[in-house]
């Protein structure tokens, strides 16, 4: 099996790796690049645990081939906190509101929520629920997640 050579950018850093043509971006992130934030919940686009951004667009990394990332910009949960370890407001609010239990869904939800707030700094509860409809959580019942996003959005608007 001949391997493909891919050059891409992950959270602003240029990286390269070798992969099989059938390999997904999710597997490449985890197995080739050691970025374990994106999770595999289903592998078929239903759960959102693998959410990343590709050239700024929110996507399921389980439904992107690693080879498709050539020359593109990938954003994962690892890129959310600042370099010194200061958490993103969404991350802080998720902890404050206890918006996670097992945490498997959390990286995907954080990436998805960040993408929402970048284009809509003041979403309604309904808008948040629809935006996150592709992110499944089997633990929290969603209410705490929605409240954490609303609270983080409010704080980010004040600081803006």
């Amino acid at each position: 099996m001949s391997m493909m050579h891919v050059n891409t950018t992950v959270n602003g850093d240029e990286v390269e790796f070798l992969c099989d043509s059938r390999e997904t971006l999710l597997d490449a992130l985890r197995d080739r690049l050691g970025q374990m934030g994106a999770k595999e919940g289903c592998g078929t686009g239903d759960c959102g645990a693998c959410s990343v951004t590709l050239d700024g667009r929110l996507v399921c990394s389980c439904l992107v081939l690693a080879a498709e990332a050539e020359g593109r910009q990938v954003g994962t949960v690892e890129g959310m906190a600042e370099d010194g370890g200061t958490l993103h407001p969404l991350q802080r609010k998720f902890i404050e509101h206890a918006a996670l239990q097992c945490g498997i869904c959390t990286p995907g939800i954080l990436v998805a929520a960040k993408a929402l707030l970048e284009q809509n700094p003041d979403p309604s509860e309904t808008e948040i629920r629809y935006w996150l409809a592709g992110n499944l959580c089997r633990c929290t019942g969603y209410d705490k997640i929605v409240r954490a996003v609303l609270d983080a959005a409010a704080e980010m608007r004040e600081d803006a």
Binding site: G45, L58, C60, C62, L65, E68, Y130, A133, G134
Partner: protein, 287 residues
């Protein structure tokens, strides 16, 4: 699996025409990669069309219509204000496909070429009178959307043929379109019934109408009798009843746990009335 990134449709078509085994085109990959991952279809050759210039563009055509590149994701349609103003029904059909994440990738062309009877964007495109342009070994051609799907998972394109773009006609005066589906949940589900209506008014009177249905036959269907039931009317009760009857009569659905034949047939008629009212109101609001 060989992964190709051609830089032109001609090259893509040559690769597809010469490919000996199972070939798939990679647009957004939200069907192709699910099928690959679930071991349903592993292509021998996968041809990614996203590196071909122009495939991600939405442009106005000379006749005032729209050309939507084969790799334009759903989210780009929803973000395009002028397109949404002209063809809200086409855009809302596509916007129903999957989650925010799926919208970042899934395309109209992929939705059409996957050949699902329940493909949500296809009734709206049929009702709009949209066409696809195709390149292939026999040269380019342009065909109506409704001639593409021929059965569940089957389309009419020949080996080596690839869709390059979707063409929506010029909206013209006093036109409106709409699409709705019935699903058991409110999000993230496959249509049990889908109906699209596109019509034009002259004052209160409907002068042209096209009605298409999805998920109630082996392919999405244009229902000429349903369009005819509306033309000449002001969307009064009698014409709505005739519309509903024509739509139900055209249904040839499957029977499964998500909807019996009787249920799907009935709901199609009910939805048709609702969708016609929306299209009629939109046409009234349009210039």
């Amino acid at each position: 699996m060989r992964y190709h990134t051609p830089s032109s449709f001609e090259e893509a078509s040559e690769i597809a025409a010469a490919a000996p085994g199972i070939t798939r085109i990679l647009a957004g990959g939200t069907d192709v990669l699910v099928q690959l991952r679930a071991d349903i279809v592993e292509p021998d050759d996968l041809i990614d069309i996203k590196r071909i210039s122009g495939t991600g563009d939405i442009t106005r055509s000379d006749d005032g219509g729209w050309v939507i590149g084969a790799a334009v994701p759903g989210v780009s349609l929803s973000e395009h204000a002028a397109l949404c103003a002209d063809w809200p029904g086409v855009v809302e059909g596509m916007a129903l496909v999957g989650s925010t994440q799926v919208q970042g990738r899934a395309t109209l062309t992929g939705n059409l070429c996957n050949g699902s009877p329940a493909a949500d964007s296809v009734p709206g495109m049929i009702a709009a009178g949209a066409e696809v342009s195709v390149v292939g070994p026999q040269g380019p051609r342009r065909i109506a959307i409704e001639s593409v799907p021929v059965g569940p998972g089957k389309i009419s394109l020949a080996k080596g043929e690839i869709v390059t773009a979707i063409h929506l006609p010029s909206r013209g005066a006093q036109g409106g379109d709409a699409y709705e589906r019935f699903i058991p949940r409110t999000e993230m589900d496959i249509a049990v019934v889908g109906v699209a209506v596109n019509l034009r008014r002259d004052g209160a009177t409907i002068t042209e109408a096209r009605v298409a249905i999805g998920a109630v036959a082996p392919t999405p269907l244009l229902v000429p009798e349903a369009g005819a039931a509306l033309v000449g009317s002001t969307l009064d009760d009698a014409s709505l009843a005739a519309l509903s009857e024509a739509v139900s009569a055209a249904c040839n659905p499957i029977d499964d746990k998500r909807g019996t034949i009787e249920f799907r047939t009935h709901v199609a008629g009910v939805l048709a009335k609702r969708v016609a009212r929306t299209a009629y109101d939109r046409a009234g609001d349009a210039k």
